[in-house]
C-alpha cells in the first residue's frame, strides 16, 4: 500500500514523513521518531497512557491516524521542558511523589498541561475531573492531584 507524505511539528521541530495510511500517531511517534514517552497500555483509548497534546488539545494518540495530524503542532513529554529546564508540572510530579511505576506519567502530565494551558488556576475539583481521563494503577491519584495544584501555583 502506498505511503502518505505527512508534515507536522513535533516539539517545535518540523518533520516530514512517509507513513502508512493506517498508522496511528502513537506508532509514528514511537517507531519513527523514537519519542517513547507516549506508551501503549490499552490501544483503544480507554486509559490515556498515549496522550499527547495536538494543537493545544490532549489526544489519545492510539486513536489518531497520523495522516490526520498533517499540519498540526504536537507536544510530547520529551518537548515539555525548555532550555534544559523542566516544566513546572514535571518538577511538581517529582517533588510531590506523584510518580510510581511511571507508565501513566507522560499521559498524565500532558493531560494536566493542556488543562493548565486553558485554565491557569483550576480548582481541585476541576483537576480531578480532568485527570479522570487517565488511568493510574499505582498512586491512588492523591499525589498527582497535589502535583497539579502545586504546578498551577508555581506557573502563575
Amino acid at each position: 500500500m502506498k505511503t502518505m507524505k505527512v508534515t507536522f511539528h513535533v516539539n517545535d521541530e518540523k518533520v516530514t514523513l512517509h507513513v502508512r495510511p493506517y498508522e496511528t500517531l502513537l506508532e509514528t511517534l514511537r517507531e519513527r521518531l523514537d519519542l517513547i514517552g507516549a506508551k501503549e497500555a490499552c490501544g483503544v483509548g480507554a486509559c490515556g497512557a498515549c496522550t499527547v497534546v495536538v494543537n493545544g488539545i490532549p489526544l489519545r494518540s492510539c486513536l489518531v491516524l497520523t495522516p490526520e495530524v498533517d499540519g498540526a503542532s504536537i507536544t510530547t513529554i520529551e518537548g515539555l521542558g525548555k532550555d534544559g529546564k523542566l516544566h513546572p508540572l514535571q518538577e511538581a510530579f517529582m517533588e510531590k511523589g506523584a510518580v510510581q511505576c511511571g507508565f501513566c506519567t507522560s499521559g498524565m502530565i500532558l493531560t494536566a498541561k493542556a488543562l493548565l494551558d486553558r485554565n491557569k488556576r483550576p480548582t481541585k475539583k476541576e483537576i480531578i475531573k480532568t485527570i479522570s481521563s487517565n488511568i493510574c494503577r499505582c498512586t491512588g491519584y492523591k499525589k498527582i492531584v497535589e502535583a497539579v495544584e502545586k504546578a498551577a501555583e508555581k506557573s502563575v
Binding site: 500500500m1 502506498k2 502518505m4 502508512r20 495510511p21 493506517y22 498508522e23 496511528t24 506508532e27 501503549e40 490501544g43 483503544v44 483509548g45 480507554a46 490515556g48 496522550t51 488539545i57 490532549p58 489526544l59 489519545r60 492510539c62 486513536l63 489518531v64 491516524l65 495522516p67 490526520e68 493531560t111 475531573k129 480532568t130 479522570s132 481521563s133 487517565n134 488511568i135
Partner: protein
C-alpha cells in the same frame, strides 16, 4: 494494537466525501473524532477499504442559530458543545449528558455526530477477532445466533450514546446528506431497532447537522455507571420539558432508545412514564451489571431526572 490495512482520504466537502464513498463502492467508513470507529477497526469489527476523514469539512464545525433552531454541525466536539452558552442556558439536559460523556479528553476529540452514530455495544461483541472467533460469531458479526440470549431472533446490543437521549428529549432533528440527496428527520427516526444494523441511514449518508428547536427548556440527564468517568452508560435517561409538554428518553438498554411524550408535566405523569418504561425495557445480560437491576433502575432514574427537571421549574 495495529490497524488493518486501509486507505485514508480527507474530504474537503460533503460532495467529495460522497464521491469517495462511490469510488470505493461503499467499502468505506466516515471518520470524525474516531473515538468509536478506531477501536472498532482495531478489533476488526469494521474492515473498511478506506477511511474518509470528514474533519476538514468547514461547514460541519459551526454552531449557529437559524430560524428558530440551534444548528449544530456534526463535527462540533462534545467539549465545545458543552461549553456553548446557548446549550448551558437553554438545554440543561444536553449540557448534563455532554458532561457525563466518557471523560474530558475524549469529549475534546469525540464529535456530536460521531457520538450519535456510535455503534451499539455488547460485552460479547466488543472483543478482539481472536476472542470472537473462539466464541463463535453472533448476529451482529454476521453469524447465526445471539451469544447472550440463546435462541434469540434479535440482537440486543446496547446503544450507548448519552447525548442522543437528551437530544431526543429536546425533540432534536438531524440532517443527512447522501448519494441520493438530503433529508431531515427527527432524531428518533434514525434507529432501526435492530442491533445488527442499528441505524436507518442509507448507504453513504452523512450526518451533517443536529437541529434543536430554540426554546428554553428545563431538564436533566441521569446516567448509571460504575465509575464516574470514562464509562459508557449502563442506562441513561434524558428528560426535557418545555412549557407543559415534556419528553423522556431511555437508552443504554437495547439497540434503540425508548421515547415517551408527556402532555402534562407533573409528578404523576412522570410516574406513569416511569412505570411504562420499566415494563418496556428489556435488558439482557450483555454488560457489566445484572439485567434485573438495570431494569429496576429505569424507573428510579426517570423519577430522579424528572424530579430534577420539576425542581428546576419551581
Amino acid at each position: 494494537m495495529i490497524l488493518p490495512k486501509f486507505e485514508y482520504k480527507s474530504a474537503e466537502n460533503i460532495a467529495k466525501a460522497i464521491a469517495f464513498y462511490e469510488r470505493y463502492n461503499g467499502k468505506i467508513r466516515y471518520l470524525a473524532g474516531g473515538t468509536d470507529l478506531i477501536p472498532l477497526v482495531k478489533l476488526r469489527l469494521s474492515t473498511p477499504m478506506a477511511i474518509i476523514d470528514l474533519k476538514e469539512i468547514e461547514g460541519l464545525k459551526a454552531i449557529s442559530h437559524q430560524g428558530g433552531w440551534l444548528v449544530i454541525g456534526a463535527n462540533v466536539t462534545l467539549f465545545e458543545l458543552k461549553n456553548n452558552n446557548t446549550v448551558k442556558e437553554y438545554f440543561p439536559a444536553l449540557y448534563e449528558s455532554l458532561d457525563a460523556t466518557s471523560c474530558e479528553t475524549l469529549q475534546m476529540r469525540g464529535t456530536i455526530g460521531g457520538n450519535i452514530l456510535q455503534n451499539t455495544r455488547c460485552l460479547l461483541y466488543n472483543q478482539s477477532l481472536e476472542w470472537r472467533t473462539a466464541r463463535g460469531f453472533c448476529f451482529k458479526m454476521g453469524g447465526e445466533t445471539c451469544n447472550v440470549v440463546p435462541n434469540a431472533r434479535a440482537c440486543f446490543s446496547n446503544y450507548c450514546s448519552d447525548n442522543a437521549l437528551s437530544l431526543m428529549a429536546l425533540s432534536a432533528s438531524v440532517k443527512l446528506v447522501g448519494p441520493r440527496g438530503e433529508r431531515k428527520m427527527p432524531l428518533e427516526k434514525i434507529f432501526s431497532g435492530d442491533g445488527r444494523n442499528p441505524f436507518t441511514l442509507m448507504p453513504g449518508e452523512i450526518l451533517t447537522e443536529i437541529l434543536i428547536p430554540m426554546k428554553r427548556s428545563k431538564g436533566a440527564y441521569e446516567k448509571l455507571r460504575v465509575r464516574d468517568s470514562i464509562d459508557y452508560p449502563l442506562l441513561g435517561v434524558g428528560v426535557s420539558t418545555k412549557g407543559n409538554a415534556g419528553r423522556v428518553c431511555v437508552g443504554g438498554i437495547g439497540p434503540s432508545p425508548l421515547v415517551y411524550n408527556l402532555k402534562d408535566i407533573n409528578e404523576s405523569a412522570f410516574k406513569d412514564v416511569a412505570e411504562k418504561a420499566y415494563s418496556d425495557a428489556r435488558p439482557v445480560s450483555n454488560t457489566t451489571l445484572s439485567p434485573d437491576y438495570r431494569k429496576k433502575m429505569v424507573s428510579v432514574l426517570i423519577q430522579r431526572a424528572s424530579k430534577k427537571a420539576l425542581q428546576e421549574g419551581k
